[in-house]
C-alpha cells in the first residue's frame, strides 16, 4: 500500500474511532438510559476525555445510589481527572478507605490509585492518606481486596502490615492470608527477624508451597547458605524446592556457585530438571568462572542423553556460551 493511501486509511480509522467514542460518551451521559446501557457505554468508550464527562464519571463513582457495576466502570475512567485535580485523587482514596463501600468499588479505586502512584505528580503529598486507606482495605472481610491491599502495603514495606503478617505466621489463629502468601509478602523486607519462622517452615511446613517460599526468602540471608545447600543436595526433596534452593545458593555465593553446580550437573543420576537449572544459572549469571571442565562435561552428557528437550536446550546454550 502506498504511504499516502495508508495514511488516509489510518486517518479514516481514527475518525471512525473518534465518532464511536463520542457516541459512547453520549450514551453514558444519557441519564434516562439503563445502568446496564451506561455501563456498556463506559466499557466501550476507551477513555473519556471531555471534562464534563469526567466530572460525571466522578459523580457516578461516588454515588452509592448508582448501580455497583456502573460505579466500577466510572472509577476506571477517572485517570485523566486524577492527574489534574488533587481533590479528585482524595475522593478516590476515600472510596478505598471506606469500609462501608462496596468491595468492587474499593477494588476499582485501588486499581486506579496503584496506577496513579506512578503518573500523578501530586500523589506524593497524598501518600499518607493512601497508606491509611490501604490499611483500612487490608482489614476487609473480602479476601481478594484484603490480599491486594496487603500486597501493596508489603511492597511499601509498611511496618504495621509486615508485623501483622509475621504475627500470623507465628500464631496461625491471627493469620490474614495463607502462610505461603505471608512469606512471599514478608520477603519484601529482608531486614526482618524471621529466620526462626523460615527455618521452622522448612522443617515443618504447613503447606508444600510455604516450604518453597521459605526457601526463597532464605536466599537473602548469608548464613542460610548451609540450609540451602542441604536442600539442594537432598535428592529426596521435590525438584521445585531444589531449584529454588539452587537459585538461593547462586544468589548468596555466586563466586562458589560453579563448583556447587558442577557436581550436580556432572552427576548422571541427578534429576534432569535440577541439572538443567544449574546450567541455566551458570549460563545466565555465572560469568567467566562458570566455564569449568566439570560443567562442560556434564553439559555435554546432558545434551546427548537428556530425555527432556528443555534440558538438552539448556545444555546446548551453556556449551555455546562456553566455547565463545
Amino acid at each position: 500500500m502506498k504511504p499516502a493511501a495508508y495514511r488516509k486509511k489510518i486517518e479514516k480509522e481514527i475518525q471512525t474511532a473518534a465518532k464511536a467514542m463520542k457516541k459512547q460518551a453520549a450514551a453514558f451521559r444519557k441519564k434516562s438510559a439503563s445502568a446496564a446501557q451506561r455501563t456498556r457505554a463506559l466499557q466501550a468508550v476507551g477513555q473519556l476525555q471531555e471534562p464534563r464527562d469526567l466530572a460525571l464519571a466522578m459523580q457516578v463513582a461516588t454515588n452509592r445510589k448508582e448501580r455497583e457495576r456502573l460505579r466500577v466502570a466510572a472509577v476506571a475512567q477517572l485517570a485523566p481527572l486524577l492527574e489534574r485535580d488533587a481533590k479528585a485523587l482524595d475522593r478516590v482514596i476515600d472510596l478505598l478507605a471506606d469500609p462501608k463501600e462496596a468491595v468492587s468499588v474499593r477494588a476499582a479505586a485501588l486499581t486506579m490509585l496503584k496506577a496513579a502512584a506512578f503518573y500523578v505528580g501530586s500523589f506524593a503529598s497524598r501518600r499518607p492518606k493512601y497508606i491509611a486507606a490501604l490499611r483500612s482495605a487490608a482489614t476487609s472481610e473480602d479476601p481478594m481486596l484484603r490480599q491486594r491491599a496487603l500486597g501493596v502495603l508489603a511492597r511499601e514495606r509498611d511496618a504495621p502490615t509486615l508485623d501483622k503478617l509475621e504475627d500470623g505466621l507465628r500464631d496461625p489463629t491471627k493469620a490474614v492470608v495463607s502462610p505461603e502468601k505471608a512469606l512471599q509478602l514478608l520477603s519484601y523486607d529482608s531486614k526482618r527477624d524471621v529466620h526462626d519462622v523460615l527455618v521452622k517452615t522448612i522443617q515443618n511446613p504447613p503447606t508444600p508451597e510455604a516450604k518453597q517460599q521459605a526457601l526463597r526468602n532464605l536466599a537473602a540471608e548469608g548464613k542460610s547458605k548451609r540450609i540451602l545447600e542441604r536442600v539442594l543436595g537432598d535428592k529426596s526433596e521435590p525438584t521445585e524446592n531444589r531449584i529454588v534452593a539452587m537459585a538461593g545458593v547462586q544468589n548468596l555465593a555466586p563466586d562458589a556457585f560453579s563448583d556447587i553446580a558442577g557436581d550436580i550437573v556432572a552427576d548422571p543420576s541427578e534429576d534432569e530438571s535440577v541439572r538443567a537449572a544449574g546450567l541455566v544459572a551458570a549460563t545466565t549469571f555465572g560469568g567467566e568462572q562458570a566455564h569449568t571442565e566439570k560443567l562442560r562435561k556434564g553439559a555435554a552428557h546432558l545434551q546427548k542423553r537428556a530425555r527432556q528437550p528443555a534440558a538438552r536446550r539448556a545444555a546446548t546454550r551453556y556449551l555455546g556460551k562456553s566455547t565463545k
Binding site: 491509611a132 509486615l162 523486607d189 531486614k191 527477624d193 526462626d196 540471608e221 555466586p254
Partner: protein
Amino acid sequence: MATRSTSGRTRRRNQKAQVNAVLALIDAVRNEPERRAALVEFLRDEHEIFRDRSAADVVRLRGFVMQAFGDLGLPEDALPFVLEDLDSSVDAYAVAAAARALRGWAAPYIEVRPVLLRALENLSGTDEYVSFATYAAVGEPGTGTTATAEVQATLRWLEKAARAAAPESGEDQRETTALTACCCGSEQVRGVSRFEEGDRTPPSQVLGIEFEDHDGRTISFGEMFKGHPSIVVFFYTRCENPRKCSLTIENLGRLQLSLASAGLSKGVRIAAITYDPQFDSPSRLKAYAIARSFRPSEDRRLLRAKCGMHALRDYFSLGVNYVHSVVNRHRVELYLLDANARVAASFLRLEWDEKEVLDEVRRLVESPARDRQVSRKIVPIHNRGFS
C-alpha cells in the same frame, strides 16, 4: 544479649523487656528532665539493644526515644543524631521524630534550615501518618501527624525562635547573630573530628585483617593502608536508602576525580569496605561501584573482610548493627587514615563536604609533621576508643 543461638521466642521476650526498660526510662526522665542525657545512648547505631532487631523495630525505638526530646529538651549530644535523620533518613517515623526533637532545642540555629528542607525532599514518596501517643501507636488521619507536617512545624518554630532571639534586628543581623552563636560547636554537630598525632590509636589489632578486593585479590589491612594516607568509607550493596550507601559511593567517585584535579591522586589510597562481607561478593562490589561512577583500581579498592569484622568494627567504632547477618542500621561514615594507618579524621552521620575532606587529605599528604605542632585540641563528640 540476644544471639542467634537463643531461641526465637526467648530472643523476642528479651527484646520486649529491653524496650519496656527504655520506655520506663523515658517516663522516669519526664519526671526528672535534667536526666535526659541518659537517653542519648539509645540513639547510637551500634548500641547492643539494636542487635538482631528488625530494621523497622530499630527505627521505631530510636524514633520514640528521639521524639521525647521535643518535650524534655534536646541535649547537645543528641543533636548530631537528629540532624542525621533529617539529612538522610527516608523513613517517615524517623524524620517526624527528628523534626519534633529539634523543637526541644534550647538555642536553635538558623543554619539547620537546609537540613530541614532536605528532609522534605527525602520524604517525597515515603511520607505516612505516624503517632507518638504510645510506643505501639499507628498513625491515622485525624489522630496522627505526618513527617511533612512535623518538619513544617519545626521550620515555623525556627522562624519564630529567630525572631524572638533578635526582635529589633534586621534580617541580615538575625542570621549573623545565629551563626556566631553556633560556629564554635558546628564541627561537633556536623560529626567532623580530627585527632592529633598523640590521640591516634595504633592499628596493631587490625593490621593482619585480610580483605578480598573487587577483583578477588587478597590484601591485608597493613598492606592496603600503611605507607600513605587513605580515605576509607563503609557501605553495603543491599542498603535501601539512596541517601546513604549509594550516595556515599557516588560521592566517593566525585572525590576520586577531585583528588586527581587537586594533584593528590598519587600517594592517597581510597577504600570502600562493605559492612556485609558474606553477601557482597567481589563481583557485586565492583558492579555497584562502577554503576555509581567510582573507578576501582590498584589504589582504589572495594573490600570485604575475609574475617576480623569484629576487630574492624572496634577499631573504627563503626556505627552499624545487624539483624543476624543483615545490616539493620548504620550511619554515613568516612575516615582519613594517616601513613601509619591510624585514624586521623572522621566525617560521620552527615553527607560530608568534599572540600573539607580534600583539605584534610592535603593536610595529611603535604605536611604530616604539622600534626605534631597543632596545639588546639578539638575533642570529638563521640570519643570512644581513640586514646
